[in-house]
């Protein structure tokens, strides 16, 4: 069990999401930064999509009731284990009774706390992800509170030793970002000038940002006619433009359908960059083609495969060492 000593700002159990039920209006939810979730899990000796805790800006404090191999990845929230600093993308052995605490958010917004065996809350529709708006998944469908205790699952694989990614090895996380987008599905609802504004502006992230969507501020994007379309399906990454001309980027908790014109869709691998941006940060959109987005997806998979191999090698080596003794 992991006990929540201090809950932080918004800590929820998340995994790789709950696909398969969008036709019933069920948002996919899951980790906002899927790459950081996968990295934390691999470092902790789990499958990349296992359930972990998503921390938001203020990471709170956690006590390990039993010894555990755990990992953090994603935003740098100044993690310490019993007072000793931990690198932002690393795994560590937490002794029974030890306290993992977080301090200032130095870079990025969302960090993932993974523990070997995964967070073992009961799955709902195939996923442990928390979707708070319908009180689904996670721990009672809600954000974690002080006094909560999280069950930890039985580990499958051989434990890797603690590892830390060097500063040059970690994916970018936090601050301004250039987000690749594929124009459409409704770019024909915008004037040429409107599309130029969309692609040419340094958009400011507003405080109206959460797991459902990020409202951006800048000059209005001109539409042809109105912003309303007949309600149709939307995916995380879709950028809707409301009647005010301002964009809203849909995030993982977004509704399954929406009624505003969608000018573009953020390429899958770049959505995490927006999830790690905070109010005041500036983001730009850059049009890309299918081939470029698919190449980015391949590069992301390759990075994770590389990390998985490194962890497996380390685990094998360690076991070999133990046998030799």
């Amino acid at each position: 069990m992991i006990a929540v000593v201090k809950p932080g700002l918004l800590c929820t159990v998340q995994d790789a999401g709950r696909p398969g039920f969008r036709a019933f209006g069920m948002p996919v939810a899951g980790a906002m930064d899927r790459l950081a979730l996968a990295a934390a899990n691999l470092l902790a000796g789990n499958e990349p999509g296992a359930a972990a805790v998503e921390l938001t800006l203020a990471g709170g404090a956690w006590r390990f009731e039993a010894p555990a191999l755990a990992a953090v990845a994603g935003a740098d929230l100044s993690a310490t284990l019993d007072g000793s600093p931990l690198p932002a993308w690393s795994s560590f052995l937490a002794p029974a009774g030890s306290t993992l605490a977080f301090g200032a958010a130095r870079a990025g917004v969302r960090a993932y706390l993974a523990v070997r065996g995964g967070v073992a809350v009961p799955p709902v529709l195939g996923s442990r992800s928390t979707y708070t708006r319908a009180a689904v998944g996670g721990l009672e469908g809600r954000a974690l509170r002080a006094g909560d205790r999280l069950p930890v699952g039985r580990p499958a694989a051989r434990p890797p030793p603690p590892l830390a990614l060097g500063p040059g090895e970690t994916p970018p996380c936090g601050g301004g970002a250039r987000l690749r987008v594929l124009l459409g599905p409704q770019e024909d609802r915008f004037t040429e000038e409107g599309i130029a504004t969309f692609l040419g502006t340094a958009w400011k992230v507003t405080p109206q940002n959460d797991r459902m969507g990020y409202r951006l501020d800048g000059p209005p994007v001109r539409l042809r006619g109105g912003a309303d379309v007949l309600t149709d399906p939307i995916l995380p990454g879709a950028v809707q433009v409301t009647g005010s001309g301002l964009p809203i980027a849909m995030m993982v908790d977004c509704h399954t359908a929406g009624g505003y014109a969608k000018i573009a869709t953020i390429a899958g691998p770049d959505l995490r960059l927006l999830a790690q941006a905070r109010a005041g940060d500036e983001v730009r959109f850059a049009a890309c083609r299918q081939a470029e987005a698919v190449a980015a997806l391949r590069a992301e998979r390759a990075w994770l495969d590389g990390l998985a191999r490194r962890v497996a090698r380390a685990a094998g080596g360690r076991a070999g060492l133990r046998r030799a003794r």
Partner: protein, 240 residues
């Protein structure tokens, strides 16, 4: 006109129309079925709406251009699908007015008819579930009597209880979970449209493409059904 529009590297919106129309919606559902049956693994999920189908796929498993060609061919195949009767009609009991239907009187005033007539008009049609969205299991229903059409509340309620049966403009719907809402609430159903209990085998009462009929019930019957639902002893009443 059929349009195939990109939604990110792993999505294609197949737009079969741009209006709320039972025939177009029937084609959307026919296409959803055909895609699921015939395209297999590279397609991860299909999401129907009023007039469009979103096809979510793995772009590392199939090139977009090839999937677009196959989708276009399937879209042409379903072009002749007519809006037949729904495959099933789910009967949904509703206790109208009073504390369970706080907007019934106001809707009656706006429509210029007595509240009992609003109930009769609301319970008369077989509605069509065009899509589920907003919250898990929320049905967007077509078929509301135009005499009942009225605008949303000027300021949305912070809490609309689960089971609230409501209308807005030409639309009718039911709130599956407590949520903020600007629709006008005529009554409440004791049924659970969405039951997220871990391991629940039927988490959603309705599916897009279903028919739905509202059945007025008194408070006593409402309470009785609510108890049966809570005890897990309730089975949906379906007309086929």
């Amino acid at each position: 006109m059929i349009r195939l529009l990109p939604q990110g590297e792993g999505g294609i919106t197949v737009e079969l129309g741009t209006a709320v129309d039972p025939a177009v919606n029937a084609r959307v559902h026919a296409l959803a079925g055909a895609v699921t049956r015939r395209l297999g693994a590279p397609v991860l999920e299909v999401v129907p709406s009023y007039a469009s189908l979103l096809v979510i796929f793995d772009p590392l498993a199939i090139p977009r251009a090839r999937l677009v060609r196959r989708l276009a061919a399937l879209a042409r195949e379903v072009a002749g699908t007519a809006a037949g009767p729904p495959r099933r009609v789910v009967r949904v009991p509703v206790c109208y007015g009073g504390e369970l239907g706080p907007d019934l009187e106001e809707v009656a005033r706006r429509a210029g008819v007595p509240p009992a007539e609003v109930v009769a008009l609301h319970a008369a049609p077989v509605y069509r579930v065009y899509l589920l969205g907003f919250t898990p299991g929320f049905p967007y229903l077509g078929g509301l009597d135009p005499r009942l059409a009225c605008p949303r509340l000027d300021s949305p309620r912070l809490r609309t209880p689960a089971g609230s049966v409501a209308i807005a403009g030409p639309q009718a719907g039911i709130y599956p979970v407590e949520s903020p809402g600007g629709w006008r609430v005529l009554g409440r159903t004791p049924l659970r449209l969405f039951d997220p209990a871990p391991g629940a085998s039927r988490p959603f009462l309705l599916a897009a493409g279903d028919g739905l009929r509202f059945v007025p019930v008194e408070r006593e019957a409402f309470d009785e059904t609510a108890r049966a639902v809570a005890a897990g002893a309730w089975r949906p009443e379906v007309e086929r």
